[in-house]
Amino acid sequence: MSNMIYLQSSDGDIFETDAQIAKCSGTIRFMLEDCYMGEYEGVLIPLPNVNSAILRKVLKWADHHKDDPVPIEDDGHSVKQVSVFSSWDAEFLEVDQGTLFGLVQAANYLDIQGLLDVTCKTVANKISGKTADDIRNTLTTNQNKFQDFI
């Protein structure tokens, strides 16, 4: 039983995908199950916060991970370790800074825990070990808006 649904990015592009794959996203799962009462063949879901390039990457990740087991929620008290993730994921995330941060935001908006974990771990790996000057130059902009933040 493969229901195909359509996702529309902020640029207007429409992506056709299997509903089961798209349900890795909590946001989409909520929309399909609560708003459409389980009957969602051919439905179009607009995603105004995700552009085409990012959405394409997200769907590629979701398709590769469609057989993953559902992750257990952690209690939020344990110290997170930057642990091993697969070489496919590592290669998938060899992208420029803009795309990587876009993926973080998309994973947050679409509520995809696995993608959020792996992208945040990647960003953390890029920060880890660098001096303050390096971090300031590569990862932050020189905007003044945070100068007076107490």
Binding site: F101, I127, T141, Q147
Partner: protein, 342 residues
């Protein structure tokens, strides 16, 4: 008021004694006891009573169920261990001239080892001047860094066992022609972390070691365009989530970038940091606590595997080193021939 001489010796959970009923603890812990013992139970025993951490007078602010106290104490911020192991750290503002003056008593050998442009890891460290008789200056210093109890074990293993003991000659090898002026040095041992190559770095700001990933495709290097998204453009909860993956050494560094990130890091202090007391003398010349100081330790993740690779060293020594005193013959010459009996 009747006496509770029966209750003093009775621990039956279904005792039918009439004068003092057996009740269930009202906190929900399901213990049953005579009613007269309830207050003691709540004060001392009950696992579902919220109590402050036993280190509260040392600065820990956590309040939790008594049953969670043990697990918390392993990570308690006030549970601080100061490392007293030997480690050689040189102060950054110690000028090279001063060091040269101090070691020049011990001859040219040591003077040559303080080459100014030597950027190797061991050049950041104070040299052990060795046993040279009664005029020896003691130059070894104690590590003296604070760690949380659960961090100390991996600190000792990483820094004192692995790094410092192997720094001169094993992890980092200088060219044997150093005495002739060659300033080459290479790392032979690199940590493998998460199946990717990493390097040990030494931060002069923090006076501590850290771990940095060596990216094959380092797309974060160099200046980026101004309209590109940056870390601080992300929502606050996402930045906090990313920061929760960093080790303490990196948290120290990132808290020095700007005020916004510093304030975000400070929100992680209670879970990841240390607290220690600050003392001042009061009027009567006694010491009193003047405040609490929260900070991150210099801990970095435990390195389980190291990789040995001396190709860079061998390549330099056999091909590139320019300090060899090479004897190149332009004409054929006779080797000494062992005499044979005719």
């Amino acid at each position: 008021m009747h006496s509770h001489s029966h209750c003093d010796n009775c621990f039956k959970i279904n005792c039918a004694h009439a004068s003092c009923e057996v009740i269930q603890c009202r906190s929900g812990c399901e213990h049953r006891m005579h009613e007269c013992k309830l207050q003691d139970h709540l004060d001392v025993l009950c696992p579902r009573v919220r109590v402050p951490c036993i280190n509260s007078e040392f600065g820990c602010n956590f309040v939790m169920f008594r049953k969670d106290l043990r697990a918390h104490l392993e990570r308690c911020a006030a549970s601080v261990v100061t490392c007293r192991n030997l480690g050689c750290f040189m102060k950054k503002n110690l000028s090279v001239q001063k060091v040269e003056m101090r070691v020049s008593k011990f001859g040219d050998y040591f003077k040559q080892q303080t080459i100014k442009d030597d950027s190797s890891l061991s050049a950041s460290f104070q040299l052990n001047c060795g046993d040279n008789g009664s005029k020896q200056i003691e130059t070894r210093q104690v590590c003296d860094s604070d760690f949380r109890r659960d961090e100390y074990c991996s600190h000792y293993r990483n820094v004192h066992c692995d790094i410092i003991n192997s720094l001169n000659g094993w992890m980092e090898k200088h060219c044997p022609n150093k005495q002739y002026g060659c300033s080459f040095s290479s790392r032979q041992m690199e940590p493998i972390f998460n199946n990717s190559k990493t390097r040990i770095v030494f931060s002069n700001v923090n006076k501590a070691f850290g771990l940095i990933g060596v990216d094959v495709h380092n797309t974060f290097n160099g200046d980026h365009m101004d309209n590109e998204i940056s870390l601080t453009d992300l929502p606050v909860e996402l930045i906090s989530y990313i920061l929760s993956y960093l080790d303490s050494f990196s948290l120290n560094n990132i808290s020095l970038t700007n005020k916004f990130l510093r304030s975000l890091c400070s929100s992680l202090l209670e879970r990841r940091g240390l607290v220690s007391l600050m003392w001042k003398k009061n009027d009567t010349m006694n010491w009193t606590v003047s405040g609490h100081r929260w900070k991150f330790s210099h801990h970095f993740s435990l390195v389980e595997k190291w990789q040995f690779d001396n190709r860079e060293f061998l390549n330099h020594f056999s091909n590139d080193c320019k300090h060899f005193d090479k004897l190149i013959h332009k004409e054929p010459f006779r080797l000494i021939v062992a005499s044979t009996k005719n």
